[in-house]
Amino acid sequence: MGKIRGFLEYDRAQEETEAVTIRVKNYKEFSKKLPNEDLKEQGGRCMDCGIPFCHSGCPLGNLIPDFNHAVYKNDWKKALRILHSTNNFPEFTGRLCPAPCESACVLGIVEEPVAIEMIEKYIVEKGFQEGWIKPEPPEHRTGKTVAVVGSGPAGLAAAQQLNRAGHLVTVFERDDKPGGLLRYGIPDFKLEKHIIDRRINVMEKEGILFKTNINVGVNFSVEKLQEFDALVLCGGATEKRPLPIPGADAKGIVQAMDFLKNNNQVVDGLKELSEELSAKSKNVIVIGGGDTGSDCVGTSNRHGAESVTNFEIMPMPSTGRTIENPWPFWPFNLKTTSSHKEGVKRNWSIATKEFVKDDQGNLKALKTLNIEWVKGEPGQRPQLKEVPGSEKEWPCELVLLALGFTGPEKSLAQQLGLKLDERTNIKADKTYQTNVANIFTAGDMHRGQSLIVWAISEGREAARHVDEFLTGHSGLPTKGAGDLPTV
């Protein structure tokens, strides 16, 4: 497995990236592939752990040591097979996943973890390049039909798995192209859209029917869904969190998702960039320090913003692990993304108190207060305390709200008579089954906003239960027990 002393011989290698000045001029991905020989060495850093925590940290249960080993042995085809056995779309996770596997990597205790995500990406890219990834339609059809609502990663994964089990799958997507957040949430510079098309193409050839511009419950009645033997709802958690403070109606305050989606459509050539949704020459403030916020930063810089500032209400995380977040748990560390490196002023422990409008109702500034977080009793969350006298006004013309999502949109659930859980997600049991027998749910719609890798995982697991529901048993794989607990 790997190379016995590989981790002592080789350092972790990074992909080289295009210089900032060049890359912000376009929306292309900007990392450069390492030579195969280097990738092999990176695979050779894997230590063949008795307990590969990475495999536990990965919500898909990717067989990481096994594909690392195959890469080290230069057997890319085998690596691909291993990778695909747990992950339908490594090309997405290989680009977009925050890689909880790497934070759980044992090597990470003492040095830089194995570059798992990068290896993953190049395994699948090699697969496409060599033509190893081909449509593999099922040999037999069960005669059962399944509708998948939503074509984000959860929906796609569920669809592909169910199709493999021989069911006829139809995927409904309300946008004009399938992919969900992959398509319209993630900027192109992180995921070029032909990557999605490439996969959709394979899936179509496998026999999956994609129906776009169909918004179930809006332009497609839920009754029609009853024609299907089973339903998998993967509509995502798209209810955006508002910021209801004085001045919130100012022009120039835009939800991040609207901003990003619009931009992707622009890049796709579907529309022109409107002034309203452009950051060009504006002072942009992105509120929310998460991944969406970061995407907004990258996009704003590509628009040619005058300045980009980022607010986060939480305190600045430490740069390394703290005793509160020991290995192998997910570290809430300071994360500096490639977008951050492209130019942003980041502020922590800061709360926006008011938007300031000009006479036309246009945004011209916002007001903030600094925050102090007071530690509570053990087991209690820290308490927020405003710092008196820390008021500050920030001139700006565009504010992007990247505050996350509060849950799925409720109309579909209501129309189908589905119960919600206490976090307003669609309620389902361990088998992803809702209170209506033939309706299942997976992904963000089920667990609330989360990672792509979780979405794929949920899609796969749900598919197995749907299959079981339809045929009484299922040969579809499951990731099995072993998810890493939370701190």
């Binding site: 307990i51 590969p52 097979r81 056995s85 509160e324 040969g475 990731k479």
Partner: protein
């Protein structure tokens, strides 16, 4: 009286070992005095026996003498015919008068039936007053029967008739159903000899049997024996001697021997016995000891026309297979007889006699001491020790010892001793064995190839692999290393997957079986270093009547390595050779019919075999080839065992050999099982296919697929050897069908039908569930789910955790939570962790997981003793510095010392700087010091710094195996502590070379107690069936603590097969030990400790309720300090700096003492809560209260349903006031030790360093002389001891065992006389000498003067020995310099340092495993046999001038100390002699010395520069 089987205790696992000896008059002169001398021998060997809890009952002793004809003539109230024309039987009878009479009647009737006459009965006068309570309660009535001939029949026929009458009577009475039938027993029935024996102490033999004191009771010979039984209910009839022999040691292969014996009986025919032969059978009666069984078989062989020595040679052959120096005729004899009978494998020293001859023989391993002395006035005395009879030096003609595989015989008619060579030559030249072999024995290699080939299978490869349960891990981890390197795969840390019966994944039947292993009662062997005594070749074919000595007996197919390739199998399958016929029998069944189909097929198989055999077929191939969607395979092991068993029932087992053609076996364990249940050859065809594919795809680094297959077969061969060696068996011939396994999780009904006599103690599943598991795999293979992305084979996760695979106790969640808990001092996280480990109702892993606490009686937790008290009973496990890093090792020690708990040094010694507290208050001293087989760093200083000394008999992860610290891990620091050389690999032998039996363990305990009287002696055992009796033996051997380890404990390196398949869970071992100790009234004398994957307070609670009062943790504290179960300890690449010596990686260690303390605290807290719930205020109250446990009924698992834990929870019915825990201290009987007398006089030397010299007489009962003095000196002066020659002690006589053990610097111990075994054990700086008495006339270099295993683990010092030493001289010597005048086999074995100068002969296998040190051999006639060297690690060189100077100096000192004539001769002609030496130099050692020299030069240079 025997205790009945109850709970986990079963009497069949009792063991015994002992002292044995004989004395005879060379000229056949009869005297009564011989009896008293013989009894004196036993008295002088009393320390080799044992006493029951009543303090008075010995384990049995007895004496065999000539029939005192004149005496009987006088005392019998009936007429006796002439000597030898009548027989005397010594008869034990039931005490109940009515039953006594019936027994006598039955016997008389049978005697008459044989046409013999009962002359009369005589009541044997006895005096019972000397009996102990235990003995008295089972005392039989002893009478003598006198039987005469009616007709004038030959002596041979008379004996045969006596034999028949006795046998038939025994069987009849056994079947009678009398309540006291078990009393009936005939110690002897012979025309020449008579045996007086019983549950007696040696000195009471002639007090009890008054006859023996009668002056007219005279004899020319006396064979005596006393037992050391592992438990305290030995019985009268098992006292020795037996009718023809007595035995010191153990017969390891007994089960195989008995099973084969039973099979042979179907062919028995004999003219002597004629028609009624069947009535005599079985030859071996049930329930007797190994020695008794051996005696019974020997007895029957004597009726086959074989002489006594010939029969002994057949049963206990010397190691002939790999001896190039053995004469061809002798080899042929052994080879011929190997076709008839498998060896009865020792360790065994067997004195035997038929009244005409008396002799003795030692088995091939030579593991029992047998010393003899011939006196000028005509006596021969042989016994386990020398010096047992005082003989004036001038009367000694010869001191000798029995050598491995050798025999000697006293011919009292001729009045001389017949030596091994002469004796054997006369036997082996009687018949043309070589010619017979040439004409009949067919080696597989010579079987002509017919061109026929097994057809290619129709079902595709992947499907078949899935069907037989192959995973990618099997291929990568198990098969690949074997196919590419010819070596078994190594792993580390313990196994933590569920028992097969608790696993939810379909298991191969093999996985329900656990390998057994040797500990204490017999030694495991080292098949690598002592390869010369091992053999895995097998003969197969038809067996014939054992009574006929004819050429056809060896018409057999001989296979050198019975793991055979596809091509070899084809040869057998399509054999066309006169006398051989094979047939393939399919072991597939109709899957559709399920269980019924399987059972029906098994019956058909037996029918098919019966028909085939009747048609002359003698090679049966059981094949699972050609599976298809209709036919599923029967587990090969099930088929094999069933065929083996049923063919016996049909009286056809002897007619054929079983060949297995199966896709199933892939690990050594699988193969060992198949052989163990009767197979004679195995073709793993699926593995062959897999290897071919690996080669084809270039996935392994072997180019030729044939070579790769051979590599695999070779590796399996080695693996099997290792498995055999674990239990102490040397040859596959004796291992075959020996069934040395324990089952865990199969129910009794199933086992009785298919695996009879294999222990299975918690019930479990049966054929129904096994069939279900087959169906699961079958379904998956033939109806795979439609999902194109599935991998062909599952990844597998038995060795490395994977989701979707086997569950592991330590997994990401448990490790993450535990580390979080200790780092954050967060009890909440600990609770998460312990919940994950404990709550197994859904995810069953262990036996303890199936328990539930009951009868709660809650009290406030405040009433429970505080955690600080509880942790005093906690220990960390024995992990050596070497296995783990200095940082990790010291962290554990500091932590445990802070909370008054104990850490364990492990077996690698310890830096003396750690013995004292550091300035900062930290104390890095390990309070437990371990003594393992390697004895690394075991000096008097080390031992003196201990509060507890642990003797590691076995290790949970690899019981029965030694260890190896690879060169790269031997850093200069490690080397210093282990007294070895940096970068030279170190070997720990499988056995302690001073413990081959229970009485040896008692001796080592005594040695260590002498070395440190304050320390408790702890004996570490590994759970196995029969451990109860071993624990009882440990208690009787005066161990203070007995540790029962589970099979799942960790290791720094072990073959994977051992990790998983050897040993048993501690729950079984602990409960068995507790029950047996209680039954034997020994529990209060010993502390019981438990370890093996203890992880939580609940684990501790269960262990406590099952009987433990102290607890060991290893893996969990390591995890607390950062271990993440990398399982790379054996690779030196541990990334967290724990199990590595790499300086860079060691920097990664981040553990702290606080981590460990937090862990211990958490565990104690959890335990306290459970104690409070159950109502126990202290742990002592809680020990052994197994009624507080029950099986958790909520367990919903189809396989676990059938499990029955009641035997584990069984509580013997003992008196209420008897404690269930330790309450008293052992009496080590040190007060009579000679050292105390010496101490009284030696004060000036010890305290004031004044030079002084003292004289003392010494005898063999003065054992371990020097250790107490050495300990006293060390306590005052530490490691440096006293200045040279401060205290000189001169002894005259025969010193007892362990003379000079652990003697420190400044002591000089001289013996004029001789010494016994373990001379200079652990020598720590003293100078020892033994010289021939001045008045003696014999030549020193022809006489044995010290015993076996001298200078074992010696660290420093010198020894000068004016005579020959025994086997394993300088074994594991790391620094002593010694001069000796001749040695036995295995000289300088495992030596790592020091110098041995040998001025005389060396035995076989010299320098095996010798990785360091130098030996110089004097070779004046240039005739040293090169075959005597084990060349694996050494080179022979010419000594340099410097070398010559070195050994000349030593020879000069030798002369100075001993006045050796030999030394003088050599020195007198030094010019001539200086060139006549050979230098034995270990290769690695030489390189390392060179490397060190260079390093030093570099260092010197750089120092110069900086200066």
């Amino acid at each position: 009286m025997k205790i009945k089987q109850q709970g986990l205790y079963s009497p069949e696992f009792e063991h015994d070992n002992c002292g044995a000896g004989f004395i005879c008059n060379l000229k056949g002169k009869r005297t009564n005095d011989i009896i008293h001398k013989a009894i004196d021998i036993l008295i002088r060997l009393e320390h080799r026996g044992a006493v029951s809890a009543d303090g008075k009952t010995g384990d049995g002793a007895g004496i065999l003498i000539d029939i005192p004809h004149a005496f009987f003539k006088k005392v019998c109230d009936f007429e006796l015919p002439d000597f030898k024309s009548y027989a005397v039987g010594m008869v034990f009878l039931p005490p109940a008068a009515n039953q006594l009479n019936i027994c006598k009647e039955i016997f008389e009737k049978e005697v008459k039936k044989q046409g013999l006459e009962v002359i009369g009965w005589r009541k044997v006068p006895i005096d019972s007053s000397c009996l102990g309570k235990v003995a008295a309660s089972s005392e039989p009535i002893t009478q003598q029967i006198f039987i005469g001939k009616t007709n004038d029949i030959s002596e041979e026929i008379f004996n045969a008739k006596l034999f028949a009458a006795r046998k038939i009577t025994e069987h009849k009475i056994e079947e009678s159903g009398f309540s006291e039938s078990h009393y009936f027993y005939l110690p002897s029935l012979s025309t020449t000899t008579i045996i007086y024996k019983g549950l007696l102490m040696p000195q009471d033999i002639n007090k009890y049997y008054l006859d023996l004191n009668e002056p007219e009771v005279v004899t020319k010979l006396a064979l005596v024996h006393q037992r050391f039984s592992t438990n305290t209910f030995p019985s009268w009839e098992l006292a020795q001697p037996f009718r023809y022999l007595c035995h010191n040691g153990e017969i390891n292969t007994l089960r195989g021997n008995l099973s084969r014996m039973r099979a042979r009986e179907e062919l028995f025919k004999s003219e002597v016995f004629g028609e009624n032969f069947k009535e005599i059978l079985p030859i071996v009666s049930e329930g007797k000891s190994d020695s008794a069984a051996m005696d019974m078989v020997l007895e029957s062989l004597l009726h086959t026309g074989r002489s006594l020595p010939e029969a002994m040679m057949m049963m206990v052959p010397e190691a002939w297979e790999k001896n190039p120096s053995m004469p061809g005729e002798k080899k042929a004899f052994y080879e011929y007889n190997a076709c008839i009978m498998e060896p009865w494998d020792g360790p065994a020293s067997i004195p035997f006699t038929d009244g005409n001859y008396i002799g003795a023989l030692l088995d091939r391993n030579g593991l029992r001491p047998s010393r003899y002395t011939v006196t000028k006035d005509g006596y021969v005395i042989m016994s386990s020790e020398t010096g047992v009879i005082d003989i004036k030096p001038e009367n000694v003609a010869l001191h000798g010892r029995l050598e491995p595989g050798k025999m000697f015989l006293v011919d009292m008619n001729e009045g001389r001793i017949i030596g091994d060579e002469e004796l054997k030559e006369s036997i082996v030249s009687k018949l043309p064995y070589r010619k017979w072999l040439d004409q009949n024995l067919l080696p597989l290699a010579e079987v002509p190839y017919t061109g026929n080939k097994t057809p290619v299978e129709k079902i595709d490869f992947v499907t078949r692999q899935q069907l037989f349960g192959y995973t990618q891990e099997d291929i990568d981890t198990i098969i690949t290393p074997m196919a590419s390197l010819g070596k078994e795969a190594i792993g580390s840390m313990g196994t933590d997957t569920p028992l097969a019966v608790l696993s939810e994944r379909p298991q191969l039947l093999f996985n329900y079986f656990k390998q057994s292993f040797a500990q204490v009662t017999n030694p495991p062997l080292d098949g690598i270093r002592e390869e010369i005594v091992t053999d895995i070749s097998l003969c197969l074919g038809e067996d014939l009547n054992i009574f006929e000595i004819i050429p056809e007996q060896c018409r057999k197919l001989r296979i050198q390595n019975p793991v055979i390739s596809n091509d070899d199998l084809d040869k057998i399958k399509y054999i066309k050779y006169p006398g051989f016929k094979s047939e393939s029998i399919s072991i597939l069944y109709e899957a559709e019919k399920g269980l019924n189909g399987l059972e029906a097929r098994l019956d058909e198989i037996i029918n098919e075999i019966t028909i085939a055999v009747d048609n002359g077929c003698n090679l049966i191939i059981l094949s699972d080839r050609n599976v298809n969607p209709k036919l599923a395979p029967i587990p090969s092991l099930l088929a094999c065992s069933f065929v083996h068993r049923m063919a016996k029932n049909h009286n056809r087992r002897s007619s054929f050999g079983i060949v297995i053609e199966s896709a199933e076996p892939r690990e050594p364990h699988h193969f060992a099982l198949l052989f163990g249940y009767g197979a004679s050859a195995i073709n793993p065809y699926m593995v062959n296919e897999i290897i071919r594919k690996l080669v084809k795809n270039k996935e392994i680094d072997v180019e030729d697929s044939e070579e790769a297959v051979q590599n695999f077969n070779k590796a399996i061969g080695k693996g099997i050897l290792k498995i055999m060696n674990k239990i102490g068996i040397s040859t596959l011939n004796s291992y075959r069908a020996a069934q040395i396994f324990e089952i865990i999780g199969l129910h009794n009904k199933f086992v009785d039908k298919y695996f009879i006599n294999t222990p299975t103690r918690i019930e479990g599943i049966g054929l129904y569930e096994i069939e279900k598991e087959i169906q699961k795999r079958f379904e998956k293979a033939f109806n795979p789910p439609e999902s194109s992305t599935d991998l062909d084979l599952e990844i597998g996760g038995d060795y490395r955790w994977r989701r979707n695979s086997e569950r592991h106790m330590f997994n990401p969640a448990t490790i993450a939570k535990l580390q979080q808990a200790v780092k954050q001092n967060n009890y909440k996280s600990y609770e998460d962790y312990s919940k994950l480990v404990n709550e197994q109702s859904e995810n069953l892993m262990t036996i303890r997981g199936m328990f539930k606490f009951k009868d709660l009686d809650p009290i406030s937790i405040d009433e429970v003793e505080p955690w600080t008290e509880i942790v005093k009973r906690f220990k960390t496990g024995a992990m050596s510095l070497g296995a783990i890093s200095q940082e990790a090792h010291e962290t554990l020690a500091i932590a445990m010392n802070r909370i008054n708990a104990k850490s364990n040094s492990g077996e690698g010694g310890e830096d003396p700087q750690r013995f004292n507290k550091d300035m900062d208050g930290n104390w890095r001293n390990s309070s437990i010091k371990q003594v393992a087989s390697g004895r690394f760093g075991v000096s008097i200083n080390y031992l003196s710094s201990a509060t507890e000394i642990q003797i590691k008999m076995a290790q949970g992860a690899k019981p029965g195996e030694g260890g190896q610290l690879p060169g790269p891990k031997v850093s200069p620091y490690i080397a210093k502590i282990r007294n070895s050389t940096p970068y030279v690999g170190l070997i720990s032998p499988p056995p302690h070379h001073d413990i081959y039996s229970i009485e040896d363990l008692a001796q080592l305990i005594f040695d260590l107690k002498n070395a440190n009287r304050q320390a408790r002696i702890n004996v570490k055992l590994v759970s196995k069936v029969g451990i109860g009796t071993i624990a009882a033996g440990v208690a009787k051997a005066k161990g203070d603590v007995v540790l029962i380890s589970g099979y799942d404990g960790g290791t720094g390196a072990s073959p994977l097969t051992s990790l998983k398949h050897a040993g048993l869970p501690w729950e079984l071992g602990l409960a068995e030990a507790q029950q047996t100790l209680l039954l034997n009234n020994l529990r209060s004398r010993i502390i019981v400790e438990c370890d093996g994957q203890l992880k939580t307070g609940r684990d501790v609670a269960v262990a406590c309720l099952l009987g433990a009062e102290e607890f060991g943790f290893s893996t969990a504290p390591l995890v607390a300090t950062g271990c993440i179960m990398m399982r790379a300890c054996h690779l030196n690449t541990c990334p967290v700096g724990i199990a590595t010596q790499d300086p860079e990686l060691r920097k990664n260690f981040k553990g702290t003492p606080e981590d460990v303390i937090n862990f211990m605290y958490f565990v104690a807290q959890e335990l306290r809560q459970i104690m409070a719930d159950l109502g126990f205020r202290t742990l002592n109250e809680m020990v052994g209260q197994s009624q507080k446990l029950e099986m958790n009924k909520a367990i919903d698992h189809y396989k676990a349903q059938g499990i029955d834990l009641s035997k584990i929870l069984y509580k013997p019915k003992i008196k209420k006031d008897k404690p269930l825990h330790n309450t008293e201290k052992q009496d080590h009987c040190l007060e009579n030790v000679l050292d105390f007398k010496i101490l009284k006089k030696a004060h000036p030397a010890i305290y004031r360093k004044e030079k002084m010299s003292l004289n003392f007489p010494i005898n063999n009962m003065n054992r371990t002389t020097g250790a107490i003095i050495s300990n006293e000196i060390t306590k005052i002066h530490g490691e440096k001891g006293l200045p040279e020659n401060t205290l000189t002690l001169n002894f005259k006589g025969s010193a007892g065992q362990s003379f000079g053990a652990f003697s420190t610097k400044g002591m000089t111990l001289n013996v004029e006389g001789n010494t016994n075994d373990y001379f200079g054990k652990g020598l720590s700086g003293a100078t020892l000498s033994v010289s021939v008495p001045k008045l003696a006339t014999f030549k020193s270099h022809e006489n044995t003067i010290i015993g076996n295993v001298a200078l074992y683990g010696a660290i420093n010092g010198e020894a000068y020995i004016n005579g020959i030493g025994g086997e394993r001289f300088c074994v594991r010597n790391s620094g002593a310099k010694a001069v000796i005048e001749g040695i036995g086999d295995h000289g300088c074995e495992y030596m790592t340092g020091g110098i041995a100068v040998i001025l005389g002969k060396i035995g076989r296998n010299f320098a095996a495993g010798m990785s360091g040190g130098i030996a110089y051999l004097y070779n004046p006639n240039d005739n040293v046999d090169v075959n005597n060297f084990n060349m694996e690690l050494i080179k022979l060189e010419h000594p340099s001038i410097e070398d010559q100077k070195e050994f000349k100096g030593l020879i000069e000192k030798h002369y100075l100390y001993t006045q050796s004539k030999l030394a003088k001769n050599i020195l007198d002609n030094w010019k001539e002699n200086s060139g006549k030496f050979i230098k034995v130099m270990p290769i690695e050692y030489k390189k390392a010395l060179q490397k060190l020299k260079e390093e030093k030069m570099k260092q010197d240079k750089s120092e110069l520069k900086t200066a």
